[in-house]
Symmetry: C2
Subunit: 418 residues, 2 copies
Amino acid sequence: MKKVLKNCLVVDENLNFEKKDLYVEDGRFVDFAEENAEDVEDLKGALVLPGLVNTHTHAPMSLFRGIAEDVELYEWLSTYIFPREDKLTEEDVYIGSLVSFMEMIKNGITTFVDMYFFQDAVAQAAKDVGIRGVITRGLADISGNGGQKLKECEDFIKAHANDPLIRGGVGPHALYTCSNDYFKEAVQLAHSTDSLLTFHLLESPLEREDYVKRTGMESVDFLDSIGAFDERTIIAHGTHFNEKELDLIAQRGATLSYNPISNAKLGNGIAPIHLALSKKVNVTLGTDSAASNNSLNLFDEIKFGVLVQRAISKDPTVMKMEEVFSMATKNASKPLPFEVGKIESGMLADLVVVNTESLSLSPNEYMKSHLIYSFDTSAIKKVMVNGEWVYDEGFLNVDFHEVMERFEKAVSSLNSRL
Amino acid sequence: MKKVLKNCLVVDENLNFEKKDLYVEDGRFVDFAEENAEDVEDLKGALVLPGLVNTHTHAPMSLFRGIAEDVELYEWLSTYIFPREDKLTEEDVYIGSLVSFMEMIKNGITTFVDMYFFQDAVAQAAKDVGIRGVITRGLADISGNGGQKLKECEDFIKAHANDPLIRGGVGPHALYTCSNDYFKEAVQLAHSTDSLLTFHLLESPLEREDYVKRTGMESVDFLDSIGAFDERTIIAHGTHFNEKELDLIAQRGATLSYNPISNAKLGNGIAPIHLALSKKVNVTLGTDSAASNNSLNLFDEIKFGVLVQRAISKDPTVMKMEEVFSMATKNASKPLPFEVGKIESGMLADLVVVNTESLSLSPNEYMKSHLIYSFDTSAIKKVMVNGEWVYDEGFLNVDFHEVMERFEKAVSSLNSRL
């Protein structure tokens, strides 16, 4: 399939804007393509952004959006989340994922990294919406079945080795839900299959001392000893990394997924991103799930992510606009198995078309600032993934009303089974 | 004019929801009205919220949205803002205000408190959009013309004493732009005309010591000595209030306008709202201007306002959902000359109609949480001010394309005059 998009105002990684035509062939941007009339679409000066990349989420958890607010992380997990997860069916996971992916696409997110279970259902939802993603099997052995989960994880990776939209990955949940041995097995699986590895680390204040008390070792030292930090690794949260640990992460080339809204909301603190950037750690952005955010909108993460660093440092010059935009786009391509996050010949054709005649983007002269500080996703007109339009003037690839009805029924039914 | 709104899901100040019909007559909610077929509108279960109140803004400054990011407050004011303000025409102020009020209405804000100049132009823009507001003359005598400004302020107050939508107020800018004597005159004008008084106070970290150095007095002590804190007073920011000062503010019955996004963005710190609430200070929310926010969306202020308190305190139980919703609605009615912020017989008929079949409001069962933590203003369908629809399925009272064109031209022309 071929497409020519005329008259685009394309933004690059330095937030510079250039008027040009874009050529797409077989799901990638190309320098030039012969055009036939039916391939050509005139975007009439609309702003074109690379699709955003959400490097940490649990898509099915839109089912739990709003169930419990204003409680501590462990209480939230053990009282509200885990009992519901025990009762989830594959259909629940499918419909929850569908709703999350619809929200992501409407908000300009074209690629995600997910950690959950019933991976096939998550993958089906992603394909139905037309979003790209790495779907990792969430792994934990404290409640048993560790081996079975690893097997499912490996099978999914193999089944999707050549899928254009979906890849598998390995997601050991955290050091407080995995034994050290099990975590090591998970890391080995990621290495042997050359897959993305992702896990929660130092999210809450108590995590560090709990682990030291239990094992006599720092969690970062243990993880480094088993090779858990490399260029295919995404560390979710890292809220409580110290300077020495950030040096190590930078040296190993691992990626940090900064999830400021979820971290703030759960009272876990805020990751030292300004320090991480000064150490050249590769930082990306994640929404975490709709249960702890409660939106799936990286433009919120961009704005809040900068502002909260400034609220804490009281320094209005902390974090530059280009830095945070790169976190939401090109930085994610490093650990991912997809060439995404930049509009450039050879990269995958994922893009977002924005109406510049929007209150939140005016005056147009200062567009660069608006992308970071005032962007309202209702200005998004169209979204392309892999060279195909998956959102067009309000319409998604799935029937909105039908999905919402199924979703509400699934939540009612789940609650009645508790 | 009479209206009957059937089948509303009305939210009250405690975030409880009740299905009922609403009756509106002569711009106010009434218990019951005889209905004719032409008065009746079936809202089919849509969510109905009281209109939100933005207690601190400078509407014309949408002209400066995005002009300078990531700089210190005083540099931002002196290098970027003040030179442009010197060149503003009445037409500039009108078109800038128009764009801000359009954004506010689309985001569910039905009442504002503004501080600027060319008050007549601001008022005209408000009337053209159909929004309600208190328009205060920004007062400062450091650059001269103090007397003239006070005169304009008084004239505007008198001219709008009985206006249903617009009232005048007194806005001495700050203690660093007004002499003590001039500030005192401003307070006296507010008292003699029984008008709303509003000013910036302790916004930035240096303000306290600068004032003490200059006068040998604490700013709060001086302001209290001239009667600046009373039930008709809105203090903007108060970022650096200490405990003793919050006690005094509570005792005097003055209102604090919490502007978390602007405060964070400019590196000014975050107001101690949790402490203020424990002292029973009346707290409301403000967006500040589009130049320092850069949006005009109180739902962003609600979410960020809670989250940033938690990011700093590391306590996920700080600030309850009902508390922050009240800040955006009913708390504002105390200092304002309008009975707004609640849907109740006798109150002014300002309301927001929301489509509950929205990703950001699902699952519907947890609607209360969604209003605080995931609300997306694209779910807003209609907005009523003073019993009249001023926004209806994308349409405002003004021509969107025409306004945006005039706005872009005004900004270009202003920049060419610098």
